[in-house]
């Protein structure tokens, strides 16, 4: 089972690559980060592609809604990533 830290680090890393000027430290993990980080649908798709490249996971479009907050990402990825 992939650990929380790897998931968190990967997610933050990808998001800071898409929003380089943002302060992820102050980001509320439970809110939709898209308006806060000014991430549009194109950037969000890059995020999904990044998850695929780093964690090997193919997220179906129907599941995108689960990955809109830091806590949502952690829960979803933990559930769907297996050793």
């Amino acid at each position: 089972m992939i650990d929380d830290t790897t998931i968190d680090v990967t997610v933050r890393d990808l998001l800071s690559g898409l929003a380089p000027e943002a302060d992820l430290g102050t980001l509320n993990p439970n809110v939709d980060f898209r308006p806060v980080l000014d991430i549009d649908s194109f950037a969000f798709l890059q995020f999904i592609v990044g998850l695929h490249e780093r964690l090997g996971i193919e997220v179906p479009e129907a599941d995108y809604a689960h990955l809109r907050s830091l806590s949502g990402c952690r829960a979803y990825l933990k559930e769907h990533l297996h050793p």
Binding site: S16, P20, E21, D40, F42, E58, P60
Partner: protein, 406 residues
């Protein structure tokens, strides 16, 4: 120095990618020019051999200045002449503006039409330039403290001693307060302002709007994406771009350029795509080439690449000058309807608002469908409302039948 936008008056030649005597072919990148839109790779349109580099790297020169000479065709020139560092009418400025940097704003030096501003001296002394090369310091990021803002040897050595202060790294912690708007956006804003002022001054705009039902298109996209790996997934904007291109083929009076008092329809369709830059840094509309001739998957891939590079300030000169019609989609930012301003010398701009569920008459009953408000801003010298309406009707037909967009 190429014109890389209707508003551009001068550019800084940052780097030569070729040497005298080198063979070049059409499409090769020969130089990098710094503009408010970022570092643009300039492509050459001839096959031949580079004869001499007239303008030295680091110089800012007006649009139209000869940058290099080329011998066109077969035979390479004789022993290469050393590059002549002659800089023809040039304005110098304190510290160039690179899109990623946060330098002091450059003082604007007026250069009126017929006059030649005497060059006040090289922007960086040869010694400074040589030292910069030795220390691998990028001159573009050095603020000059010499006369007229020229970069001195000391400036280069100072810059080498500390890391570049300007490029934000992803892990750099930011201040709590919203960051102040970076200076380069002032240049972009000024450039956009100039272009828009010119457009409104010269182009008699007319506007048409229509609401397009996207139920079929979005269902089709969903089905496509279910079958596709994340790396191949499609976004609605790719459908919009393809639909605009195919409709422009069908209604040619919206696709081309107005110059010297006539409309010149274009044989190709290069769609400019409005891309918002991060941090309120402005909106640019680089072109995707030959969209009418490419399959949807290719268009999506190229669009993704274009958006990434635009946001990193790494576009090519052909992308900045070739659009034959432009599309702007601001729906995600919240606008329901966008009435855009045409980018001269183009003659039309298509605006897409937010996709939202809206009430609609469906088979005589009230239904709810995802729809988008689409507008056409047209140049009344090149087309009129009737033609514009035909274009919007074609657009509606294509989006209602997404199979035609593949």
């Amino acid at each position: 120095m190429p014109s890389l936008g209707a508003d551009m008056e001068a550019g800084t030649l940052v780097e030569w990618r070729v040497k005298p005597g080198q063979a070049v072919k059409r499409g090769d990148v020969v130089a990098v020019v710094e503009t408010d839109k970022g570092a643009i790779e300039v492509e050459i349109w001839e096959n031949g051999y580079v004869q001499s580099l007239v303008v030295a790297a680091g110089s800012k020169v007006p649009v139209g200045t000869t940058l290099a000479t080329l011998s066109v065709g077969g035979v390479p020139p004789g022993p290469a002449a050393p590059p002549a560092p002659a800089v023809r009418p040039a304005t110098t400025e304190a510290g160039p503006t690179a899109i990623a940097a946060i330098p002091a704003p450059a003082p604007t030096a007026p250069v009126s039409g017929g006059e030649v501003e005497p060059a006040a001296g090289p922007r960086a002394s040869p010694a400074a330039r040589k030292r910069a090369h030795e220390l691998e310091v990028d001159l573009v990021r050095v603020v000059g403290t010499g006369p007229h803002g020229a970069i001195t040897l000391a400036d280069v050595e100072g810059a080498a001693a500390k890391p570049s202060p300007a490029v934000p790294t992803p892990t750099r912690p930011e201040a709590r307060a919203p960051p102040p708007r970076p200076a380069p956006s002032l240049d972009i804003r000024r450039a956009i302002g100039a272009a828009m002022a010119r457009s409104k001054r010269e182009i008699p705009h007319y506007y048409l709007a229509t609401e397009i039902d996207l139920e079929a298109a979005l269902r089709w996209l969903e089905e496509q994406n279910r079958k596709r790996s994340v790396v191949d997934r499609l976004l609605p904007i790719a459908l919009f771009v393809r639909a605009v291109a195919l409709s422009a083929r069908e209604v040619p009076d919206v696709n081309g350029f107005w110059s010297n008092g006539t409309f010149r329809p274009s044989a190709v369709v290069h769609v400019g795509v409005g891309i918002s830059l991060r941090n309120d840094a402005g909106l640019i509309a680089p072109a995707l080439h030959d969209v009418d001739a490419k399959p949807l998957s290719t268009v999506m891939k190229e669009l993704a690449d274009l958006i990434s590079r635009a946001r990193q300030g790494r576009l090519r000169s052909s992308e900045l000058s070739d659009a034959t019609i432009t599309l702007t989609s601001l729906g995600e930012q919240g606008a329901e309807t966008v009435f855009g301003v045409i980018y001269p010398p183009q003659v039309a701009l298509v605006g897409f608002g937010a996709i939202a569920p809206r009430p609609r008459a469906v088979d005589g009953l009230l239904g709810v469908r995802p729809t988008v408000n689409v507008t056409l801003s047209g140049d009344h010298r090149a087309s009129d409302g009737h033609t514009g309406a035909l274009f919007l009707a074609a657009l509606g037909r294509h989006l209602a039948d997404p199979e035609t967009l593949k």
